[in-house]
């Protein structure tokens, strides 16, 4: 044993490619490492630091030093190995950060700050990008799938007479011509709502659906019907459904990427929660669609306040029972009507 050979740590040694383990000691001389069995004798493994693999330190898990010949020395004495490595001018930067230390508190705060920034800026930017590059074919598939499942689950064929349908369609086309996609970009469908009752909605590819019950509710007032449809066009023009979908999916995806493992239950909740989220329009989206309805109606020479009147009608007939809207993502109709009227005034066409 050379005089400047210093013992570093004790541990276990595995022969090349074997599971056998024997108690052993790790010794160092300059940049060379030796393993000597506790039983004594000649070194069983010798190697230059540059040609062996010393596993990075993670917590207190056993440290493994793999020699070129496939033999392995493992020790629980991480600190001794670190000390020797430090003398050779190597230190584990990431482990240093991970040690339990007051500075972890700063990391926690930084993570919360970054998470806030991501939610505020990165997610919206990514959503815009995704909306921009979404192929039309994809939105078409999504929409036809949704309509198909709704048709099977809840809708029946419309009971509206053909002449009435044609009349509404003609008025609708007159209004849709002023939308950026033009009348060709939209496809109006009449359905009997059944469970859904009075309603109208738009799918991201420009498929619009209006239920017989809604037409009944407004007593066939054409302005109101077209106003509601213009509101739905507003959702399509601004890609609200698509944005909502990407926002929810993006949030879930980012959480999974950043957190790495959220547990099986966490993943379930994230994916189901994302699916739920995609189906509610935000307050902003609703008021944006209201404004577009006002503008389109004004351009088409119809009453721009129609959508507001529609909400008044709704209030009157159904009552504003808090249970009529499950989620409070929709502004109260009073405040909503005021916003519509203000916008109608600023658009400048007084209407009736």
């Amino acid at each position: 044993m050379a005089s400047d050979t210093k013992p570093i740590a004790s541990g276990r040694w595995h022969p090349p490619g074997s599971s056998r383990a024997e108690p052993a000691i790790l010794l160092g001389e300059g940049k060379t490492l030796y393993v000597r069995l506790a039983a004594g004798g000649d070194p069983v493994s010798v190697g230059d630091m540059a040609r062996m693999e010393i596993s990075a330190r993670v917590g207190r898990i056993p440290r493994r030093i793999s020699f070129v010949d496939g033999s392995l020395f493992e020790t629980e004495d991480n600190d001794a190995v670190d000390l020797w490595l430090k003398r050779q001018g190597k230190s584990g930067f990431v482990h240093e950060l991970e040690r339990f230390h007051p500075r972890l508190l700063a990391f926690v705060l930084a993570v919360f700050l970054f998470a806030g920034l991501i939610y505020r800026y990165a997610v919206p930017a990514l959503v815009e990008l995704a909306v921009l590059v979404t192929p039309p074919a994809v939105t078409h598939w999504m929409a036809s799938g949704t309509l198909l499942s709704l048709d099977q689950a809840v809708f029946d064929d419309s009971t509206l007479p053909d002449a009435r349908q044609a009349e509404i369609r003609a008025a609708f086309n007159g209004m849709a011509d002023h939308a950026s996609r033009g009348r060709a970009g939209y496809n109006l469908n009449f359905r009997h709502g059944g469970v859904i009752g009075p309603n109208a909605f738009a799918l991201p590819d420009g498929t619009l659906v209006i239920t017989d019950e809604l037409i009944e509710l407004v007593d066939g007032d054409l302005d109101m019907i077209i106003g509601v449809l213009a509101h739905e066009i507003g959702h399509v023009e601004r890609d609200h459904s698509l944005r909502q979908l990407y926002r929810a999916a993006g949030m879930a995806g980012l959480i999974m990427l950043i957190a790495g493992d959220v547990g099986a239950a966490g993943e379930d909740i994230l994916t189901n929660g994302a699916a739920l989220m995609t189906l509610s329009h935000s307050r902003d989206a609703e008021s944006e669609a209201d404004r577009i309805s006002v503008e389109l109606m004004a351009k088409a020479g119809r009453d721009p306040r129609a959508i507001g009147k529609f909400f008044a009608q709704l209030e009157e007939k159904l009552g504003t029972g808090g249970d009529s809207s499950f989620l409070s993502t929709h502004p109260g109709t009073a405040e909503r009507r005021k916003a519509i009227d203000d916008h109608a005034r600023s658009v400048g066409s007084g209407g009736s």
């Binding site: 595995h14 074997s18 917590g59 993570v111 970054f114 991501i118 950043i258 790495g260 909400f311």
Partner: protein
């Protein structure tokens, strides 16, 4: 724990987990911080450090496991998957037909991907200086996973035990440890015994959902509101009915999964002599998962490291191997680990190999 069987000593060696929540907290928060700062690039290295922490603290018979995947391997895998998705979307814009063909191709590639990722995960795992290996073939993966999954799905779960049996026979019968084989033969009767309570729970859940669904139907009819999305109405109705059912189904799924794990591991032999062992308590494990979730949510996820360590500890301490005589010396059959692309595409970390 010793049990004597006709004079031959069979020693059960339980796993032990030596990690601690405090120590893992540092690793976890630094992983998140660096992942954010590097715009997600570090997530591959984060995965390696996380796995090394959990593998390296899982001990059986005084030796721990280790995880040898490199951050770069996983990063390249993720980059390729990312590139594929981008290329796929570009192609879809140019030609929807080509995109459709690509989707079909993906479906046919799936068994190969599953096989490769099982192999990758086995080859980057070691115990006592010896790596694991997986020698399953693609076609067998198709039968075991895709066909089995379809059978289980279309039989409404009634044939699920057969699918589980195929899946775990595929996994364990192809698993190698340094040239020595694992073999498993879970009895279909035993699988049906753990399936029965889970299935009954599912039926109860479906009945509850049906009952609430009818009630929700009428409440929706009462309170329709044109300013809300009908889909949301529908979904809320459905979810309102489903939440209790989903909880019951969650319990059923955990019951079944844990039951199957116990049956399969206790029916798995290593080197034709030693038997794997698992005695997870179904209710206890469910309690751990649920309380972990609640605590994690209430603490804005700051207790997630504690929850992860707690769940892991329970699983490891209720697994083990019943050694017949001595494990003996195992000699390696050297292989490199193959690429990480496929392992990354389908993150099969959920398939614990029973340790």
């Amino acid at each position: 724990m010793q049990q004597a069987v006709f004079g031959r000593a069979n020693a059960l060696r339980r796993g032990e987990f030596r990690g601690s929540a405090g120590e893992y907290f540092g690793i976890w928060i630094v992983n998140i911080l660096l992942t954010i700062i590097t715009l997600g690039i570090y997530s591959a290295w984060a995965k390696v450090r996380r796995n090394r922490y959990f593998y390296g603290n899982s001990f059986v018979d005084g030796h721990s496991f280790d995880y040898h995947a490199r951050g770069l391997q996983i990063f390249i895998g993720r980059a390729i998957v990312f590139g594929y998705i981008i290329a796929y979307n570009v192609l879809l814009t140019i030609s929807p037909i080509a995109g459709g063909i690509l989707t079909l191709l993906m479906f046919f590639l799936l068994p190969w991907i599953v096989m490769r990722s099982l192999r990758f995960n086995a080859r980057v795992t070691s115990y006592r200086n010896i790596r694991f290996d997986f020698v399953g073939k693609t076609w067998a993966a198709f039968v075991a996973i895709i066909f089995g999954g379809l059978i289980a799905f279309f039989s409404l779960g009634i044939l699920a035990p057969f699918a589980s049996r195929w899946l775990y026979r595929y996994i364990f019968n192809n698993l190698r440890y340094g040239g020595r084989a694992f073999e498993t033969d879970p009895k279909i009767g035993a699988l049906y015994r753990v399936w029965l309570p889970a299935f009954l729970l599912m039926v109860v859940g479906a009945a509850v959902a049906g009952l609430l669904g009818v009630m929700a139907y009428y409440s929706v009819v009462e309170g329709a509101d044109a300013s809300t999305d009908p889909e949301m109405h529908l979904l809320l109705g459905i979810y309102g009915a489903l939440v209790p059912a989903l909880v019951l189904w969650g319990v059923a799924a955990i019951f079944y999964r844990i039951g199957v794990r116990n049956v399969v591991m206790n029916a798995t032999r290593f080197d034709a002599r030693h038997t794997l062992f698992s005695d997870l308590g179904r209710l206890r494990y469910f309690w751990i998962v649920i309380s972990n979730l609640v605590v994690t949510v209430l603490t804005l996820s700051l207790m997630r490291p504690w929850a992860a360590v707690r769940e892991h500890r329970y699983v490891i301490e209720h697994s083990g191997i019943v050694v017949d005589g001595e494990l003996g010396e195992v000699v390696a059959s050297m292989q490199n680990s193959g690429s990480a692309v496929t392992a990354e595409y389908l993150d099969l970390e959920g398939f614990d190999f029973g340790f």
